[in-house]
Amino acid sequence: MFRTEEMDINMGPQHPSTHGVLRLVLNLDGEEIVDVRPVIGYLHRGVEKLSEHRTYAMIEPLTDRLDYVAAISENLGYCGAVEKLMGLQVPPRAQSIRVILAELQRIASHLLWLGTHALDLGAMTVFFYTFRERELILDLFEQFCGARLTYNAMRIGGLLEDVPPGWTDRVRHFLSIFPSRQKEYEDLLTVNRIWLGRTQGVGVLSREDAVALGTSGPTLRGSGVDYDVRKSQPYSSYDQFDFDVPLGTKGDTYDRYLVRMEEMRQSCRIIQQALDRLPEGEVRAKVPKYIKPPAGEVYHVVESPRGEQGFYIVSKGSEMPYRMRFRSPSFVNLQALPMMCKGRLIADVVAIIGSIDIVLGDVDR
């Protein structure tokens, strides 16, 4: 009779849709996935070790390169961790500006995710639209800090400079056009039957599994777990803003998509509030010229667009950290991939990778 064989296929590290240099070894039975083994480490740069030989100020540019599509969140988390360690109080204006930046970054990051996710599923035009709008945000960042990707936008104790004149108006302008643009993406995707077919019921991650695997961010909230660091452990004055945490119900790719779409709307809400009551004053606390935190340990988490981004610093009281460790959400979320993929088709793997929104810089560090 027939002899059937399972086939191993290498997806990546050079593959159009593994978003960077992820390598997946797929064990296939026809087109059906028997097993998936993610192979990571192609982008390992040893950031944690490198940090042990750098002063605290020098580490911030390194954090830009962890999750390079959401560098502001990394900056914010890192600065927050050092500030916590030093017991620094960041001036309220700086806190609010940080929130604006972080939420703009969340929108930018989600736009990049939406574009590539849609591109993976064949809807190529959405990619260009989301990049068009992302470009507006990058322009705002460029006006604020001078860079478009690796921002190095904050400094320990606050910000380097206040926002440039007219910047807040430009942010408002962005907020005024963004909702109509988001409506266009939704017209192209949210109700499209092909999109529904490709995402609904695909890559289901149950509530229990999501918690057990330690996932966070939209991947976790898509499964209906109400956990958002911005709410549970507010940092940088997030407790003063009014926003909703979107939750999915089924935990499939489509729910994660909806959660991120709603998060973009909520981010707009937060930015609007922050702009409306932007406090006056300094943007940087009094910081000693040489930053030497007292001996001790600190763990600080922020909600990056991908999930819970943690920074663990051990200080021996010198200019450089004794040990540094990043809890990167992509790395943890990636663990859920094999579970979600089993028994599905190749085409679904692409959808699922897209839906957990990993960034390899963040996974490999």
């Binding site: 002063t55 460029e142 006006q143 860079a147 190095n152 440039p164 039957r193 009014d242 489509y254 779409m261």
Partner: protein
């Protein structure tokens, strides 16, 4: 703030109206309309070597040194602060005592652009007034065929390089 979660749900597919919509492929037509409409929006891409985007004043390009705007003297006082603070060790300064004994002056100043990550940290501590001697310029074109070209010596740092013109 109070309990603030919001459950996101898929669009309804039951009910007579929804079924009719599905039957008429309504959402597919809407999608087509969106792409058609966007055809008449202005393009946003720039034909790069011919046109260049406008950079914002804070843009961080290649770090360079500058002269005093009025007197035209070198601003740098060879304090080595930027060298110390640079995370990538890409600044290399050699200085000597000024002949009159007061202060130091530069003998050479190199930035290895292969290592530079354009973080702008070197600008923060520069002590000269009214302008920092080192600054992030608006130059960003640095492709070259030889690695030596990336080690920018003092002369280049001060004067910059002319932007390459695009010829059809």
């Amino acid at each position: 703030m109070g309990a603030t979660t919001r459950t996101v749900e898929a669009p309804r597919t039951t009910g007579a109206r929804e079924i009719l919509k599905t039957f008429l492929l309504l959402e597919l037509w809407v999608g087509l309309w969106v792409t058609l409409k966007n055809q008449f929006r202005p393009h946003i891409t720039v034909e790069y070597p011919k046109e260049r985007v406008e950079l914002s004043p804070r843009f961080r390009g290649i770090p360079r040194l500058r002269f005093h705007p009025e007197s035209g003297e070198e601003l740098c006082i060879a304090c080595h602060l930027c060298e110390t603070v640079c995370p990538d060790d890409c600044i290399h300064i050699v200085s000597e005592k000024k002949p009159d004994g007061k202060g130091k002056r530069l003998v050479s100043f190199e930035i290895n652009l292969e290592r530079c990550c354009f973080c702008g940290l070197c600008v923060d501590p520069c002590p000269t007034k009214p302008l920092t001697a080192i600054y992030m310029s608006h130059d960003y074109e640095m492709a070259d065929f030889k690695r030596d070209a990336f080690v920018a010596p003092l002369k280049v740092l001060l004067n910059g390089v002319d932007p390459k013109d695009y010829k059809e």
